[in-house]
Amino acid sequence: MARLTKIKTRAKNGATEVLVLVNHPMETGQRVDPKTKQKIPAHFIQKMTIELNGKPVAVADLGVAISKDPLVGVMINGAKAGDKVKASWTDNKGESGNAETSV
């Protein structure tokens, strides 16, 4: 089942802020499992793309130091009500997810 990805937009300072929240462990690969005593393998979102009406406006490269259940925010100029905003991501294990909303 796909990990939950949530997206929302809001007007801010004359532009449109896009906020994306993803259910993702963002494991650094350094944490030791207290039961197995082994390091939990790194598992993190590497790329997140945000599109406005199908055109990429932001392509983020993320590392393990982004917090668990990552939040990413960008701002778009000139977006109009009804414009489609989409966020899609992929992680180092090949998992992916996306979410869409309208301004």
Partner: protein, 157 residues
Amino acid sequence: MNVKRRTLLKGTLATGALGLAAAAGILKPARVLAAEWPKNAFEAKTVDEALKDVYGAGQATQSKDITIKAPIQAENGAVVPISVETKLPNVESIGIMVKENATPLIATVALSNGAAGYFSARMKMAKTSDVNVYVKSGGKLYSATQQIKVTVGGCGG
């Protein structure tokens, strides 16, 4: 054509594993492959190394037109909110690095098509550190910095 792709296409057309291949990114056009995740930059152990890997050679110029919104004292090092905003024109990319993290590069974002000079995220910090933000504007690299204090301990339960 990329050898990998040629071999895979031959193979997958026979076995019907195109879907899997597409998901694995092997069938992406070359220009997208070029924009793959910058492994070296994220594994660099110093700011200077990471800077070179992300932005190439050259120095960043301190700029007052970059605003960092981040706490002076983080409530919890696992979830430190940070936003970068800039008045600089034609912003191509924004990057964030935490000097004292084992691997300083936190994130970079390429901006285009109407994106404003703005990026926000929540990040992990191992300890008190300077946080450097970089903005590529009009082909030139600018930077700003702020210290964020991280106190470990207290009665964590």
